[in-house]
Symmetry: none
Subunit: 288 residues, 2 copies
């Protein structure tokens, strides 16, 4: 059993890992992509680098730093967190990990499809979580937007509900074949007055009862939906101890909103680690 | 008239300077010594450095970074702040500077134990921070010097690392009992050639791998006292905007207490800069 699984290997996640490791906790960092920093060309306002530093380089530095301290950093996509057991079960395409606590530090990016009708029909036929909302769409015509492990994981849940599934890749290449109709051109409109009735792409029009979006990497908001954590404006809501409304589930960095700065993300990571350390010590005491 | 004079050129001061400069404010950093960081041999828990970084080197990096962005950093000792005029008058042995606002980011001078071997073995077995350096002393024989809440907090972190702990109270009474061996007589020598191997007290000799000092917490912000800034337990008291009870006088970093970590100091600097920027904009509006 791992003490803390940290999802996300940016400033918040890695800083938390370093502090927890130094508190002698057993910690694992899992993350697939680099989030917002990856596209930041040059960072000049993070303390300690005489002429600034490239965002990608800084993230690599952080990962190397963690590994140097003996922390495992796995390059995997977390597709699910299950909190219905006596521990957290964190699932990637090829592995399952058990943990006492989980820290979500995935950054803020959520892949929206900001086309006509998206905002209007969100929650009215557009959904982000098959486990959460799929039940309403049993035996209906469903679209699933995505192309990688995240989509495939949602697909396996969706296949339990209906046979009428179309996958929209938004121009991306599928990372594994699917046994459903696949549309590769981009969605340009979600159609519907009160509820969604279909989508339009660059080259066609399709009727659907529901569209599920699982595009790119699951965001903090995606995880929150799946475990029932409270969101406010797509930010994970945490208390003063960086804990969400789910006992043992913490969040830090851009995922919880506030100032979207590296310095703040790193600070969050440190503070969250201190509170998680206290929680782990409490658990230890209680289990004696 | 300078917009903001920042006293202290460590993580808090330099980070604040960088943010203020980027808000287009006219800012000057003044500081003489390097504070606690200077003696930290190796920092491993500040995000972004693959194999850690030497404290002195990091401070130099920060100063270079600020200068690179066009910020003046003066190597002078601030001996007085006068707030009885319509501006702040900041005095060094050879100069006077006028500023609309002042940020105190001098760090926090820690209680030394000026006996034989102390200076020599500082950073070589004598440390001031369990969170910072404890990791190197897992399962070792440790001494903890202190008697109050500060010591007790360090003790709870130390207990995660080792069972072999002796508390030295330096003649003070413990404010709460501890479940470890307690030595009340004063340390008269730190023993060791290249690294610490033990301590001598008035009445005995003890072998240790490390000594952590958490003895009181005297303030480095002596001049803050001279302007009537409120202190609590030697920390400068600030409001949510990092402003002291003196209008226009701000403080950040170790000087305001809390977690004495680089990551937090830098975060403070950023946050203080945001609030100072708002204050300067208000002043500008009011003077029109």
């Amino acid at each position: 059993m791992i003490d803390t699984i940290i999802i996300g290997k940016g400033a918040a996640g890695i800083t938390a890992a370093i502090y927890l490791k130094r508190y002698n906790k057993n910690v694992l960092v899992i993350g697939k992509d680099f989030g917002a920093l990856e596209k930041t060309v040059k960072i000049e306002n993070y303390y300690g680098f005489p002429t600034g530093i490239d965002g990608k380089e800084l993230i690599q530095n952080g990962i190397t730093q963690a590994k140097h301290l003996g922390i495992d950093v796995y390059d995997e996509e977390v597709v699910q967190i299950d909190n219905t057991l006596e521990y957290f079960l964190v699932t990637t395409p090829n592995h399952e990990y058990k943990a006492k606590t989980v820290l979500i530090a995935t950054g803020k990016k959520r892949s929206p499809i900001n086309v006509k009708g998206f905002k209007h029909l969100q929650g009215k036929g557009i959904s982000f979580c098959v486990t959460c909302d799929g039940f309403f769409f049993r035996n209906k015509r469903l679209a699933l937007v995505g192309y990688n492990d995240f989509m495939l994981h949602e697909l396996s849940d969706m296949e339990l509900l209906t046979k009428d599934i179309t996958v929209f890749t938004e121009g991306n290449e599928l990372t594994a074949p699917v046994k459903h109709k696949v549309v590769t051109d981009k969605i340009i409109e979600f159609v519907g007055d009160d509820v969604l009735t279909g989508v339009k792409t660059e080259n066609g029009s399709y009727d659907f009862d529901g569209v599920f979006i699982a595009l790119g990497t699951p965001s903090a908001a995606d995880f929150a939906l799946r475990v029932g954590a409270i969101l406010d404006n797509n930010n994970l809501v945490v208390n003063a101890s960086y804990q969400t409304n789910i006992e043992g589930l913490y969040a830090a960095g851009d995922a919880i909103g506030g100032t979207l700065q590296l310095t703040k993300a790193s600070y969050d990571g440190m503070m969250a680690a201190m509170h998680i350390k206290n929680k782990l010590n409490d658990l230890k005491r209680l289990s004696k």
